[in-house]
């Protein structure tokens, strides 16, 4: 086995060298003038796509030789178990792949960890994104093996096993926050890929003998079929000639406007009404594509969200809370000086250290730390540290407000300090705070569990009003009206929460609630999303309906399953029943027993059309021939007729047969098999 491992190493070294060389060049290019977030940028720019390509390449080239049956026979006919040959092959391939990808990354990490290279503190978690990409390449490696070795049509199901690593990438990169969970997903997908690859390797591309490997291959094909179906549905929407969309806006006087946007043959048009549907004549000539109307509506530049209320996967998709983002460890601070003041340092909030680190942008060396008690030099610990992790760090960038649940600071880094502006009541902690209004005359809007507070930048309270919405169910957008400095607050229900809520409130300069408009939910049955949602329903597996909430589908796939839930469900169930019937017919055609037929039909009732595609990929379409006994069509590859049970007749004799008795071979007492 070791000799096979060494041969594989030697044989594939050149491919590893190519991968290593390409990535090293890219890393060295980046290291010439490294961006501040080098270790987060490198994965986004390079390893994110190079890892999969490298994995796929290594998987393909390593088994290319074995695609010819003679070569495969030459490789596996050894006094070593076939599993041992496969293990040696995979061990060598993965070692080369990981080394080729990891060594250039290591160069980047070593460089980033050296003082003076990056104007941020080095944290161990910075290696996670690259490590995940390197390990994720292994998923593509096994997929490459499977699609090379598996005997299927290239334009049929051959490429479908790529679905699992693609899904793994999507999940591990986009939807998972903790690194260990991403690692777990990658390991599970690698295990599935390895099992499927072992199946196709052991059976020379057939994967027909082992149940577990067949199941793994089925999982890979199914993921690919689902991905392809979603892609086709999405792609088909590109051919929609037009459509209609509706949404609300608030004008600069605080009035709610319902905008209906239409696209017909590439021409865009808008209709403006009030929420009740009455036309607004003042908007008759407004063209929203015209930059002159860019400030027609109010811009909400402050968002208030309770971080506890943000559900997964929104946390990862939109709040930079994942392991691939610097946020959970570092918060880059921007716009931290008054207009016209130029700072001679860059600043980041160091979450583990609970202090603001200042760096010289030229030498990239630390200048010092800013804590609640002020500045301290780099060689000394801060006099006092902040309370913990700031609230909603992803909203902090660009704002002077640094909020914790027990205190809110105004950042004044031009003075190398932060100034406390608000301390809440112990039973009414802060859940969010933001800077609201124009930058030159902004105010501080602070939301505690029960109240809303508007403060001047000095910390002087302007007004405080009760917050009548539950922050665990809603989030808020705020803006100041340019004319009268009234606060306009839009309240939205959080994704997945019910009942639906969309309320616009206007507060006067002394905090009095002037008016509140509840906006009805918009359901436009002429929206092109309706057809897309129905098409998506037709391919969506029933099994996933129970575990995947509609709002997640809407967020992730940009459909409207909540809005058109009836249509979606009708199409989903119709498709599922059709798939079950189709599966029943296919299973009978393939000559499966009733238990297997029922199992497959039930499975495809839950799995949908992708399940049918998987079934067709796993089973060869059966050949049939006429039974000599009953004359009906029987399965050619089965010894006994499924109708009459008669065994297939022996090979026909035509009088040419020449067979000798065993004695003639010099074999005494042994019977020569007779044809």
């Amino acid at each position: 086995m070791i000799s096979i491992f060494l041969r594989e190493l030697r044989e594939n070294l050149k491919w590893a060298a190519v991968i290593f060389g390409v990535l090293l060049v890219m890393v060295l290019h980046e290291l010439r003038d490294p961006p501040t977030m080098l270790l987060f940028d490198l994965p986004q720019r390079y390893t994110l796509w190079l890892g999969p390509i490298a994995g796929l390449l290594m998987g393909v080239v390593q088994v290319l030789f074995e695609t010819r049956p003679d070569n495969w026979g030459f490789v596996v006919h050894r006094p070593v178990p076939r599993a041992g040959i496969f293990l040696a092959k995979c061990a060598a391939g993965l070692l080369l792949l990981y080394a080729a990808l990891a060594l250039p990354c290591l160069v980047a990490v070593i460089s980033a960890a050296r003082p003076g290279r990056l104007a941020i503190p080095f944290q161990g978690r910075m290696v996670f994104p690259m490590l995940a990409d390197v390990l994720n390449a292994g998923c593509y490696y096994f997929a490459g093996m499977v699609l090379t070795l598996r005997k299927a049509r290239w334009l049929g199901t051959r490429l479908l096993p790529l679905g699992v690593p693609l899904a793994s990438s999507a999940i591990a990169i986009m939807f998972i926050a903790p690194f260990w969970q991403a690692l777990l997903v990658i390991l599970i997908v690698q295990a599935i890929g390895a099992a499927a690859a072992w199946g196709v390797f052991a059976d020379n591309g057939a994967a027909e003998r082992r149940v577990a490997t067949r199941f793994a291959l089925g999982a890979m094909v199914y993921a690919g079929a689902i991905g392809m179906a979603i892609g086709l549905v999405g792609f088909s929407q590109g051919f929609t000639p037009g459509g209609r969309w509706q949404y609300y806006q608030v004008d600069r006087d605080g009035n709610v406007v319902l905008i209906t946007q239409t696209i017909q043959h590439g021409e865009r048009g808008w209709a403006f009404t009030d929420p009740a549907g009455r036309p607004l004549p003042q908007y008759d000539r407004v063209d929203l594509d015209d930059p002159a109307y860019a400030n027609q509506f109010l811009r909400f530049n402050a968002r208030l969200v309770d971080r506890e209320s943000i559900p997964w996967p929104i946390t990862v998709l939109y709040t930079s809370a994942g392991y691939r983002s610097p946020m959970p460890g570092l918060i880059p601070l921007r716009a931290v000086a008054p207009a016209g003041v130029r700072l001679r340092f860059s600043a980041v909030y160091d979450i583990p250290q609970r202090a603001i680190d200042l760096f010289d942008p030229v030498t990239r060396m630390p200048i010092g730390l800013v804590g609640p008690a002020g500045f301290s030099p780099p060689d000394q610990p801060p006099i006092e540290r902040f309370a913990g992790t700031p609230l909603l760090p992803f909203l902090q960038g660009g704002s002077h407000v640094l909020a914790f649940d027990s205190i809110v600071y105004w950042i004044e880094l031009d003075h190398r300090r932060v100034r406390p502006v608000f301390v809440p009541q112990p039973d009414d902690p802060v859940f969010s705070a933001a800077e609201v209004g124009p930058a030159i005359d902004s105010k501080i809007l602070i939301a505690t569990t029960h109240r809303l507070h508007l403060l001047e930048r000095s910390g002087q309270l302007v007004w405080s009003a009760p917050l009548d919405q539950d922050p665990m169910r809603c989030n808020f957008d705020a803006a100041l009206l340019p004319a009268n400095r009234h606060l306009v607050l839009r309240t939205f229900s959080n994704p997945g929460t019910k009942p639906y809520c969309n309320v616009v409130s206007e507060y006067s300069v002394d905090g009095m609630l002037l008016h509140q408009v509840e906006l009805p939910r918009l359901t436009d049955f002429r929206s092109p999303k309706k057809i897309e949602t129905m098409a998506f329903g037709a391919i969506f597996p029933v099994a996933a309906r129970a575990i995947c909430p509609s709002w997640i589908l809407d967020e992730v796939l940009d459909v409207k399953t909540e809005e058109f839930s009836n249509f979606f469900d009708e199409f989903m169930w119709s498709s599922a029943i059709l798939c079950a019937i189709l599966t029943l017919l296919i299973a009978r055609r393939c000559g499966m027993g009733w238990s297997k037929t029922i199992a497959w039909s039930s499975a495809n009732l839950l799995l949908g059309p992708a399940g049918v595609a998987t079934m067709l990929a796993l089973y060869d379409w059966p050949a049939r021939e006429r039974c000599v006994a009953c004359g009906r069509s029987r399965l050619a590859a089965r010894r006994d007729c499924s109708h009459c049970g008669a065994p297939l007749a022996s090979a026909p004799q035509d009088g040419r047969e020449i067979f000798e008795p065993a004695e003639a071979f010099g074999l005494h007492g042994a019977a020569l098999p007779v044809a």
Binding site: E11, P69, V76, H77, P79, E208, A623, R639, F659, E660
Partner: protein
């Protein structure tokens, strides 16, 4: 211990709708040199792959050296030398790399045998496999197959693509390999001269069906050719069992028959021929007739006369 190195029972394999091997019952006696004959696509390679456990049968079973083919343990594989069709070898390897690689895998590796086979083929040990000629590569493959001192040697069309000199070298190496009395060799080939020189037993596959399994002498004696001369045009032939080829000419019929019995001879004599001659037939002709298809009652087109040809051109 079975007297057969290889045994198959109703071995059948379909590729989709295509039946490649059908109901094959084959026995390869231990110590024999077994020629496996058949036309392209008749199922020889598929049979050998199934026997080696490289391909699973649609139904039926096979055993090799007393073990089920589909679950051969490594120590049995070590006793089986397999030279696959096309002489596969890792192209980047030099001869010494291949030697070192194989040596680590096989406990009974014979360095002297490896070197002598290479010398016989005049293969430079420094050459990479990808730079070798077909003959040299065949030599390397054969050396790698013989050096583990296998008890059973399976050669799948070993002479394919080789020039006559290389083919002769290959055969002589195989003769060298047969010096051990207990060694069984099974090889498939289209080249009857090779079979004639090497094999003592043969099996003939005719489009997935085993038609013959016997000693070479028996095969030769069972296939006979007769020329029936008539005074006029030959008559329509009645069904004659064992006819494998029938070539009618102006006043004669050339018949090739298998398993000629007294009844067959009587039937031939009653056809009204003025003369019946049995003519000697070579093994190659026997084989070609045996598998070349029956041309029963088919008249070959008359050769055009020169004058007609000239007229056509004019």
């Amino acid at each position: 211990m079975s007297d057969y190195a290889i045994q198959t029972h109703h071995l059948t394999r379909y590729f989709g709708a295509k039946r490649v091997v059908f109901d094959l019952n084959l026995g390869v006696p231990c110590g024999s040199i077994f020629g496996f004959l058949g036309r392209n696509g008749s199922g020889k390679t598929t049979t050998l792959r199934m026997v080696l456990g490289l391909l699973s049968p649609t139904w039926g079973s096979s055993s090799i050296l007393g073990h089920d083919s589909q679950s051969l343990p490594p120590h049995i594989r070590a006793r089986i030398g397999y030279l696959a069709e096309g002489h596969p070898v890792h192209g980047w390897m030099r001869v010494r790399d291949a030697q070192a690689y194989q040596k680590r895998l096989y406990p009974r590796w014979n360095d002297d045998l490896f070197r002598s086979v290479l010398e016989f083929f005049r293969v430079d040990p420094k050459t990479r496999a990808r730079n070798m000629s077909r003959g040299e590569r065949a030599g390397l493959c054969l050396a790698m197959t013989l050096a583990p001192e296998p008890d059973l040697l399976i050669l799948d069309d070993p002479a394919i693509g080789l020039d006559p000199v290389a083919r002769r070298s290959l055969l002589e190496s195989m003769v060298y390999a047969t010096r051990r009395a207990d060694r069984t060799i099974i090889f498939s080939s289209h080249l009857l001269a090779d079979i004639e020189r090497m094999a003592d037993h043969i099996a003939v596959l005719d489009y997935s069906i085993l038609r013959a399994q016997c000693s070479l002498e028996t095969f030769r004696s069972c296939v006979q050719q007769f020329v029936l001369r008539f005074e006029g045009p030959p008559p329509e032939l009645p069904p004659i069992r064992g006819v494998i080829q029938c070539v009618p000419r102006q006043s004669e019929i050339r018949l090739t028959l298998v398993n000629v019995t007294g009844q067959t001879r009587a039937l031939l004599e009653n056809l009204g021929a003025v003369r019946i001659d049995e003519i000697p037939i070579s093994l190659e002709d026997s084989f070609v007739s045996y598998l070349g298809g029956t041309l029963e009652n088919v008249r070959l087109p008359e050769t055009p006369k020169v004058a007609e040809l000239a007229g056509g051109v004019a």
